[in-house]
Amino acid sequence: MKLTREGKGLLITGVLVAMAALNTGNNLIYLLTALMLSLGLLDVVAGYSNLKKISADVVVEEPLYAGPGQTAFYRFFNDKKHSSAFLVTLKDTDTGMFAVAPRIDPDGMTEIKGVVTFSCRGRIRLSHMKLSSGYPFGFYRNVVKLNNPKSFLVYPELIDVQGLLAGVRSIAGSGALPHPSGEDFTDIRPYQQGDPMRDIHWKSTAKTGGLMVKEFRAGISRHVTVALDTSARATPEILEKGISLAASLVEALFSEGYPVRLKTLAQVSAPARSREQLYHIMDMLALIQPEEPVPQALQEEGQEILLVVLCSRDSPFRNLAQRASGVFDAIRL
């Protein structure tokens, strides 16, 4: 329970009126004192009952990226059988989530649409989310902390990398990043999990009765590997910038149709051919922490198109960078 500015006004006026009543012995001033006391008392009792059996939930449209505003739905539930709840506020100080439900019907739900902005990537736990209400008079704010706080996985902030990719294409030639489109497939094979829907060969699927996908011509690998230097030597700010850049590259390349995979100093993801696989990479990027390099990660792989994001001056990926189609230095960017 928190005394508001208006509550302080009531307290000061109430004390003044009470002093006047004691000093004069005037019953009408005692009556005004009783009014002030009643207002305070009723505010506490009605406020407590207003917030009783009220719960709330936040639903945010996924995927969540740091930076831009996301649409959030704040849902308020009233489990009371008979009385409505009024002017209930849901607030989380960490994320800046804020919504006011003007009225929640008995045994009902009120949904308020809002925008929420996450400032950084990672697992965001709404552990400081509180329901509060100053109903009916606003002299006090009853505050209830929500149990079982919800958590969100926020992906790194996406930045515009079209310029950087165009730069790669112009410097290293179109062969460095061959366009992924084309129907020159060489073979048809059974569907494997992760294969994009657009690669399904419907004719053979109909014939065989099982999902079949097209295998594209050999020689030009359509896989792109984004290697992110997650060295502990990188400063946190640079690392964050690198992660943001890597996420943006993965997202942009996937949108262009490339199967993209992510390689860090300690992890390698499967090539993202579908949205789910892309989100798997984004999950990695959302939670990634500085890593110690493992030998396997430093090895080159045959036909991949390699883009390297360097975050430290003496990066373990410096050898890979020498044969990469594009190198992005997060320190200089």
Partner: protein, 640 residues
């Protein structure tokens, strides 16, 4: 803000202004501000913009200066000055309602205005004003809070407001009844209530006219068991006539310390005593009124004094309503032989009166006959009239009455009779009190008004004083049904609201008993329990506030360097990159082309936000140092 909210605010202001106006104690000059206040609220309701703050601040400053001079020079009265101040501030504030919080300030000002009005007067109409104020307060404060939270009033909130209003009325009543109270005067308060009843310690002939002409209610008397009494409500007794005035020489009576709330002046109370419950409006002196002879009194005064002439007075700290119960025998006071000399004093230079008295009583066989003869003569030869020459314009108003005009009212009749009785050697005195009163059959009580003020004669004949009333009876009109019911309301207001006392509270609490308990409850234990509860509540609230204050102080102490650092960086940014002026830090950082600097600044502000607004503990020294380093790095980067 919705128009309903604005109208309610206007209504609240109108109520408090009306209360102040009704008292008719405020100087009328400042009520010229009322049209300005009305104009201000009409402007607000019309949705026009508030007036520039510079003008309003200037007006507020001028008002404060006026308040100080009003308090010390113009009216010289704090209460009037505060009343004037609220009128002026209401006028100013009416042009400065920007947020619902401003409306709440107006509400608190209205409360102060009602406090001032309550100290100036307490008529029945205040009952209606308070009722309306309480009801509208709930709705207004709710609307105020709602306007601060959401733009549109949610469906059902009005209904909830009405329910809360219905709840608050009994709650206020209960708190009002149970609230501990004192007699007041803690800080040397001045009572502004006018003394409207009783008599001064000195009565000048010719001063009663003003009193008798007023229809103001002086007291309401309920006679228990519905006994029919001869309604002479005896009060002050005067024995000395000097310079056309009656005075009382009995300055020392028999004081009784009122420990139990009840005093009896006789060893054995009469079985058929007349019990009268009296609610007396603020009296001029402590004298109580009742049927003769008063032998017992129950009241909340600390001291009760009984004078040898049968007069009873209570001690009062202030001019407040007096609520008491007297028990009378219905008989006249006993004659005390030692003091009879006092009642035979006859002023010099009134030989004509002496001769007239001797002439009238010449044939009377005894003292009683002489009394009757004088009374008969007065009634036969003089006529009742309130239109008499001013006492100051005639040398001797009694002789002027007896020998010239032969017109006068009770004072003239009674004084003439007392002096004539003394002239023929009969000890006599004049008694000032009230005669009659309207019996309200619906309330079962007598309503005694100023017009019932009366003086009559007591003569020492035999063992007891005998009452003679030479004044001819005057006609009194009957009261209508409506007027009787209205008077019941007035009685209830005076008795149970304005006149509610510590004793009433204790009596009420004394009624409380646990079911099945046979323990006697004198009301003290519940009163102490309530006081302790309140004390506990005050201690809890104070403790909580102290804790919050300390926490806030600690927060400020630890947060101030963090905030100052952020402000310095923002200023530095504006200085170095003028295009970032007025922008938030996020937008400012986006304006910077130097990517490393941008990164450093982002790190700084992210850290700052986490420290300043995050839910973690207060920033430690190391965290502050880290923030300083980040700020320093950013600055250095720019300078490089």
């Amino acid at each position: 803000m919705q128009s309903g909210y604005k109208w309610t605010l206007f209504f609240i202001v109108a109520i408090s202004h009306t209360a102040l106006f009704i008292t008719s104690e405020m100087p009328p000059e400042l009520f010229i501000l009322t049209p300005i206040t009305i104009a201000g609220y009409l402007t607000l309701i019309a949705g026009k913009k508030p007036v520039n703050r510079i003008f309003l601040n200037a007006a507020a400053l001028a008002t404060l200066i006026f308040f100080i001079s009003d308090m010390f020079v113009i009216s010289g009265d704090l209460l009037i000055a505060v009343g004037n101040l609220t009128l002026a501030f209401h006028a100013i504030k009416s042009f400065d309602i920007r947020t619902p919080g401003d409306g709440l300030q107006v509400f608190f000002m209205a409360v102060i205005q009602l406090v001032v009005a309550s100290e100036l007067d307490q008529p029945l109409i205040f009952g209606a004003i308070f009722l309306v104020f309480i009801a509208s307060s709930v709705l207004f404060i709710m609307a105020s809070y709602q306007a601060a939270e959401v733009e549109k009033m949610p469906r059902g909130l009005l209904k909830s407001g009405i329910l809360l209003t219905l709840t608050i009325l009994p709650l206020v009543t209960v708190i009002f009844i149970l609230m501990p109270r004192g007699a007041g005067g803690l800080l040397g308060s001045r009572n502004r209530q006018k003394a409207v009843s009783g008599f001064d310690d000195k009565i000048s002939i010719g001063t009663f006219e003003e009193v008798i002409s007023s229809a103001d209610v002086v007291m309401r008397i309920t006679v228990e068991d519905g006994k029919v009494v001869e309604s002479y409500w005896r009060g002050k007794v005067f024995e000395t006539y000097e310079k056309n005035s009656w005075a009382n020489r009995w300055t020392h009576g028999f004081p009784y310390r009122n420990r139990k709330g009840k005093i009896q002046f006789v060893r054995k109370m009469p079985k058929n005593g007349i019990v009268q419950d009296v609610l007396l409006k603020p009296p001029k002196s402590g004298t109580v009124f009742g049927v003769s002879e008063i032998v017992g009194i129950a009241c909340d005064s600390r001291w009760v004094v009984q004078y040898p002439n049968g007069e009873v007075a209570v001690s009062r700290r202030r001019k407040k309503r007096v609520n008491y119960q007297v028990i009378s025998t219905g008989e006249q006071p006993k004659v005390r032989g030692k003091t009879l000399e006092l009642y035979l004093q006859f002023p010099d230079g009134m030989e004509r009166t002496r001769k007239l008295a001797e002439t009238i009583t010449g044939l009377a066989p005894d003292s009683a006959g002489k009394c009757r003869a004088i009374m008969k003569w007065l009634r036969k030869n003089c006529s009742y009239s309130l239109k008499v020459p001013l006492a100051g314009t005639v040398g001797n108003p009694v002789e002027d009455f007896l020998f010239k005009t032969r017109k006068g009212y009770c004072e003239y009749y009674a004084t003439s009779m007392v002096l004539m009785l003394r002239a023929v050697g009969i000890p006599a005195r004049i008694v000032a009190g009230y005669r009659g009163g309207d019996f309200n059959p619906y309330g079962g009580y007598y309503v005694v008004r100023q017009s019932n003020a009366h003086t009559w004669v007591e003569a020492a004949i035999g063992p007891r004083w005998v009452r003679f009333d030479p004044t001819p009876a005057t006609e009194s009109g009957s009261r209508s049904l409506f007027s009787n019911y209205l008077d019941i309301l007035g009685f209830a207001w005076d008795r149970y609201v304005v006149g509610y006392s510590v004793e009433d509270r204790q009596t009420l609490l004394g009624q409380l008993k646990w079911p099945g308990s046979s323990t006697e409850n004198n009301g003290r234990l519940p009163a102490v329990a309530i006081s302790l509860l309140i004390l506990l509540g005050i201690m809890l609230i104070s403790g909580r506030m102290l804790l919050l204050w300390r926490r806030k102080r600690e927060f400020k102490k630890r947060m101030q360097p963090v905030s100052i650092l952020a402000m310095q960086i923002m200023k530095w940014l504006t200085r170095k990159y003028p295009e970032t002026k007025g922008l938030s830090w996020r937008k400012s950082v986006q304006q910077i082309q130097d990517f490393p600097l941008r990164t450093q600044l982002t790190s700084f502000f992210n850290e700052y936000e986490a420290l300043r607004f995050g839910a973690g503990p207060l920033p430690a020294k190391e965290q502050l140092e880290r923030l300083k380093t980040l700020a320093e790095n950013a600055r250095r980067r720019r300078d490089e």
